[in-house]
């Protein structure tokens, strides 16, 4: 090599973006929903949130150190904080502290660093952790509480919250069912969806978050606000969220029209469960979704359909996490089949034919 050869080719300019800026924008987008939800579920939720995010950062630091990579630079990219945040938002708010810690190990060590670290994982780390926890600790992971806002007298004070989160105080008395779980249970008892839905809070309250569920499942509206913010900043495009929500809504509506007693309607599917969180924040995870826009549409539709199928026919009331993980596995192959057409070539890679008369 010539000794005076400059070591880098162009371009000599760059968009004002970086990985950490992207991650910070996503975190910002989660702030409104998180703030409302921690207020709704009180101190135990705040404690669990802090434990989960902290544990994720600690596990990330440990993994980076073991791999011999720069620890501070790795933490600064914000990806571990985001994983921890999303994981915390998918846990029952009053779950004990060790759920957050075990989840962090699942998410960061197993789902991310075992695959080679940032950018290399096949599955969304937060969802791997949530599903692994759900399968391993079903009782704890389905102990939902009804919202008890910090301002209400029922909200546990800090000392009792510490006991709930760190000393495993029993929650039997206050366990409540999520909307999806409620409909599913009632269906198995032979009560049609049309009736069981009426005993739930109205959709308006669900949208605002006034119902039982994980942090991210409630308050669909603020999640939507965060998602729109990300779109406005061009961090995410409309393709995946629209495909997920659109296919979920349309399938729900279609089957509801066929048999209202058996199938909940599309609006219910959208606003209950983690539809919005999944569509805007989990399915859009760069690393585990396809890179081309057409691939993202396919991916999103797959997520939406699988979610509906799992919610309707499978044993678990909430299918979003499973659906996204299944589609994550398909993302590489979707990528292969949805490459854009190359300029001047046909889809099969052959050069465009010359027209006889231009």
């Amino acid at each position: 090599m010539s000794p005076i050869s400059p070591e880098r080719s162009g371009p000599f300019g760059h968009a004002p973006n970086s990985v950490s800026q992207t991650m910070i924008a996503v975190l910002l987008a989660l702030v409104p929903a998180t703030a409302l939800d921690t207020w709704l579920f009180g101190w135990p939720a705040i404690l669990l949130f802090a434990v989960t995010v902290g544990a994720c950062l600690a596990v990330e630091a440990a993994c980076l150190a073991v791999a011999g990579r720069p620890v501070m630079a790795g933490l600064a990219d914000g990806s571990a904080a985001l994983t921890g945040w999303l994981l915390a938002m998918s846990l029952p708010p009053w779950a004990p502290w060790w759920i957050g810690v075990v989840g962090a190990v699942f998410a960061i060590a197993l789902a991310k660093h075992a695959f080679g670290g940032l950018g290399q994982n096949v599955f969304n780390p937060a969802m791997v952790a949530r599903v692994a926890l759900l399968v391993s600790f079903p009782v704890v992971m389905t102990a939902w509480v009804a919202p008890q806002p910090l301002s209400s007298p029922d909200s546990p004070d800090l000392s009792r919250s510490l006991a709930i989160t760190f000393a495993g105080e029993h929650l039997d008395a206050i366990t409540s069912a999520t909307a999806l779980g409620h409909v599913k249970t009632e269906l198995t008892r032979g009560i049609p969806a049309t009736e069981s839905v009426t005993s739930l809070p109205p959709l308006r309250d669900m949208a605002l978050g006034l119902r039982a569920g994980s942090l991210g499942e409630t308050s669909a509206l603020l999640i939507l606000v965060g998602g729109l913010y990300l779109m406005a900043r061009r961090i995410i495009s409309w393709h995946i969220p629209a495909a997920v929500l659109g296919s979920l809504f349309l399938t729900g509506t279609l089957f509801h029209a066929i048999d209202p007693a058996r199938f909940a309607d599309g609006g219910f599917h959208l606003l209950s469960g983690a539809s919005f969180l999944g569509a805007f924040f989990i399915a859009t995870d760069y690393v585990t979704s396809p890179v081309s826009k057409s691939g993202q549409l396919v991916f999103g539709v797959g997520c939406g359909l699988l979610t509906w199928i799992i919610r309707t026919f499978a044993g678990y009331p909430e299918g979003m996490a499973f659906a996204i993980l299944l589609m994550n596995a398909l993302a590489p192959i979707i990528d292969q089949y949805t490459r854009p057409r190359i300029f001047g070539r046909r889809r099969d890679g052959q050069a465009l034919p010359l027209e006889e008369k231009a």
Binding site: S2, F12, H14, T22, A351, A358
Partner: protein, 487 residues
């Protein structure tokens, strides 16, 4: 006029205001000019002058060799000091043969070819010959010999000559200034080129961020019904030949073909002006307008300078550098080439000299790819840079080739948009270079084999001839013996 969308692209920070309001100024004659024999695509020119010779302004210094080549002319009168190899205006910094001319400041002019009197009545061939003689190459940066491109109408029916005034690269304003100050020369040059090509229509396409240029061109072109001026949307890389053709005509050039195959030939605005000067005044291409800009330049300017001027003199003419630049670039920041130093000459294809600060280059160590897909959205060619780079990193060049790495323009949109600052363009440049080198090696291997086979054949023939001769001798000897015996 209806325009058509092009895929992908980006909207970088243009920073053209640094020099866009600076009228073109001529550079005082430098102390020495270094004129490379190869400033164009194709075969290098062959020097016709010897060291010590006195040359006059406009005199032919080196003639083109072969079908794709261009001659070089003296930008000033003076003495040839040497013909030697010096580092060229190329990222490799490899030495290239150059003619070193010491101007005497008298600007004594050589006899120029007569202007072509009625060019529109002259045969197209006459204009092409004049363009070839004048050493005109594409001034947009590619430096392809223009006369060759003006001959494309011979075999194919052409309907549009597209004059490229997009100037989509950030910082560069030389085309903008030429359009504002020499609109009549551009329109006339374009009409001359259309005549040479046999193309009935001329479209001058300018990005909408140059409203004054568009206005002036519109006024100048008004008397000519077959010349239209169109404003393009501001989108990098609009100035890429194939994308420009698509934006203006909606036609997509098939891969590995020329735009002429779909009826359109593209020339740069400054080339049109050079053609005007060559045909109407007989002037060869010895000067060009170049933008000197960037945050490290004290006073950015658009300068009309002789070919062969050391870049350091151009920068000095702009008041020098205010701070140590982070990168020196010849051309625009997106597709330009990095320079190791300013001690290289201005060549025909140099549209800009940029001294960029750290803030401007915004360089950053590459991080891991997060598969965000920005590069896929940005690629104007429909490639998947993330996948290509991963393949090239593992040196799977054949697979990268199958996915179209050779269709990459190196426009830099992907690398610009990558949040992980991965040097995608360099991966592709490396892959294209390696594939090219491999093809050359393969050709050499085949040549060696052919030569070896020819030699073996020759040796065999020689051996056979020897055997035959020996046999003949023996036979003669035997028959002689027999003859001896018989009587």
């Amino acid at each position: 006029m209806k325009l058509f969308p092009i895929r992908g692209g980006i909207h970088p920070d243009y920073r053209k205001e640094l020099s866009s309001e600076r009228p073109i100024v001529p550079l005082p004659l430098p102390a020495k000019l270094f004129i490379p024999l190869q400033q164009h695509i194709g075969a290098p020119a062959e020097a016709l002058v010897a060291p010590g010779a006195y040359v006059r302004k406009g005199q032919l210094l080196a003639r083109g060799q072969g079908p794709v080549s261009a001659p070089q002319h003296a930008p000033a009168s003076g003495t040839i000091e040497a013909i030697t190899e010096l580092p060229g205006t190329h990222p490799s910094g490899l030495p290239q043969p150059m003619i070193v001319l010491v101007p005497d400041g008298k600007d004594e002019a050589a006899p120029l070819p007569e202007p072509i009197a009625n060019p529109f009545d002259a045969p197209p061939q006459a204009i092409r010959e004049r363009v070839a003689q004048s050493g005109i190459v594409g001034l947009g940066g590619a430096a392809f010999p223009s006369a060759v491109k003006l001959g494309l109408g011979e075999q194919r029916p052409l309907d549009i000559l597209l004059i490229n005034g997009a100037e989509c690269e950030p910082y560069l304003t030389c085309d903008d200034r030429v359009m504002r100050e020499h609109a009549d020369a551009i329109v006339d040059g374009a009409r001359l080129m259309a005549h040479a090509l046999g193309a009935p229509n001329v479209v001058i396409a300018v990005e909408a961020n140059k409203p004054e240029a568009i206005h002036i061109l519109n006024c100048t072109a008004a008397p000519f019904p077959n010349v239209r001026v169109t404003a393009l949307p501001v989108q990098y890389p609009m100035g890429s030949e194939r994308h420009l053709v698509q934006a203006v005509t909606g036609r997509e050039t098939p891969a590995r073909r020329l735009t002429a195959d779909i009826g359109v030939v593209v020339h740069n605005v400054a080339t049109a002006r050079a053609v005007h000067l060559a045909v109407r005044s007989g002037l060869p291409l010895t000067h060009r307008v170049v933008t000197v800009s960037g945050g490290a330049v004290r006073e950015p300017k658009n300068i009309e300078a002789p070919i062969g001027t050391p870049l350091a003199e151009l920068v000095a003419f702009c008041g020098g550098l205010t701070i140590e630049p982070h990168r020196l670039v010849s051309g625009g920041p997106m597709m330009g080439q990095p320079l190791a130093s300013l001690d290289v000459p201005l060549v025909k294809g140099t549209s800009g000299i940029l001294a960029l600060t750290t803030q401007e280059t915004a360089e950053h160590a590459a991080g891991p790819c997060i598969r965000c897909g920005n590069c896929v959205s940005a690629c104007p060619c429909g490639l998947v840079p993330v996948e290509l780079a991963a393949l090239i990193r593992k040196d799977h060049l054949d697979r990268a080739a199958a996915l179209g790495v050779q269709d990459c323009l190196s426009c830099g949109s992907c690398a610009w948009a990558c949040p992980s600052h991965i040097p995608l363009v360099q991966y592709f440049n490396y892959a294209k270079g390696r594939l090219n080198a491999d093809a050359l090696a393969q050709r050499k291997l085949e040549q060696t084999r052919t030569l070896a086979e020819a030699r073996n054949l020759r040796l065999e023939k020689a051996a056979a001839a020897k055997r035959a001769a020996a046999a003949a001798r023996e036979a003669a000897a035997v028959s002689a013996n027999e003859e001896k015996v018989t009587p």
